[in-house]
Amino acid sequence: MKFPDYYATLGVEKTATAEELKKTFRRLARKYHPDISKEPDAAERMTALNEANNVLSDPEKRKAYDQVGHQAWAQGARSADDVRPPPGWNQGYERSAGGTGASGASGGSGFTQDHSEFFEEMFGRAAQQRSNYRSNQSGQGSQAFNGEDQHVDISLDLEQAYEGSERTLQLASYRINEQGQAIPETRTLSVKIPKGVAQGQMIRLSSQGSPGFGGGKAGDLFMHVNITQTVDLVVSGRDVTMPVFVSPWEAALGGEVEVKTPAGMLTVNIPAGSVAGRKLRLRGKGIPAHHSKGTAGDLYFKLSIAVPSAVTEQQKQAWQALAQAYPGFEPRAR
């Protein structure tokens, strides 16, 4: 893993004032904001910018950083006495993998936390632990630190939201040994996602975040659920909107139609005189409730009218007869 110098990351001189740093960071943050930027590496650049800014915008951190140098800082040093992580601590770090679901879609998962900052904090605490270890040896007592909470994004398709799925997450972590060294560790978590998880919900995995130090509790792992949407399938909370195609005569005359939905094959009553764009609601057929006392979402159908082609002579005559039956019909006079 490359560790670019923080001043170079921000494009400032080492003599830059706090105000200069702030202005530069804000300008670059606007340029590389992942939701706005067109740059292909925006997310990675934003992570690097945040890491650099977190250090250089803090006077104490900046002073320590300038003293130990970038290389040592990246390896966890905060002073000459700080613990150095063992070689290869950052190898094998991967974004979490997709899992299996009802549809077989892998879905994506992402470790959205700024992991560089996370490791910086980790080795800062490891240094504290090492200091505590030394203090223990001299009988001066120790201090417990709770582990950090961690966050990860997971994507589910609609079928997985309705039926539940399994996810495998691979997280780079560490363990502090008796000598206060941080030993790299890869944790593979197998998680059953229950049915009825809605868009934007969080799932907490207790104690699966960063480990604590000196007897402190481990942090929690939070999974942020994102349900994959398309132009046709829109999810809002537990409500789902999907298109349904009807024939012109079904729209005009009404009737029941069978529609394949994430909730299974459903019979939908099309009111007579329906027009394209009309929305119909089926209560309780959206994403199911997560527990028995909860409320399922609703399923909305947005009508589209499928117009059959006039190919055969009989079909053409049928359309012409229809046109003659509506002499005053002016669809463009609106």
Binding site: D149, V191, T230
Partner: protein, 103 residues
């Protein structure tokens, strides 16, 4: 040095369903004070449900709180402006997800 591999089957998970998170938890996860959280509720930047005199937040509101806190911190932004930016970012994400071609 080899990397330790650990396989874990997570048995117990908690789906944060509805308004379940209290002020202290939101504050901790957003790296802000509880006062910051309360003020944002009073300013109608964050929405909470009051039960027995305690605010409870949904996970969606936690995500919004993190966004607002980050924007305020990064830009020394006025809270209402930060909330506006958070609204716009969320709107962009929603619209982008909707215009993605289906597979």
């Amino acid at each position: 040095m080899s990397i330790i591999q650990q396989q874990i089957v997570v048995e117990h998970i908690q789906v944060i369903d509805g308004e379940m998170l209290q002020t202290e938890e939101v504050a901790r996860l957003c790296c802000v004070t509880t006062q910051w959280v309360h003020t944002r509720v009073e300013q109608e930047i964050l929405h909470a449900v009051m039960r027995d005199g305690t605010y409870f937040f949904s996970s969606q509101m936690l995500i919004r709180a993190k966004q607002v806190a980050n924007i305020e911190h990064q830009y020394d932004a006025d809270p209402q402006l930060a909330a506006l930016v958070a609204d716009l970012v969320e709107e962009v994400r929603t619209l982008r997800a909707q215009v993605k071609p289906s597979d």
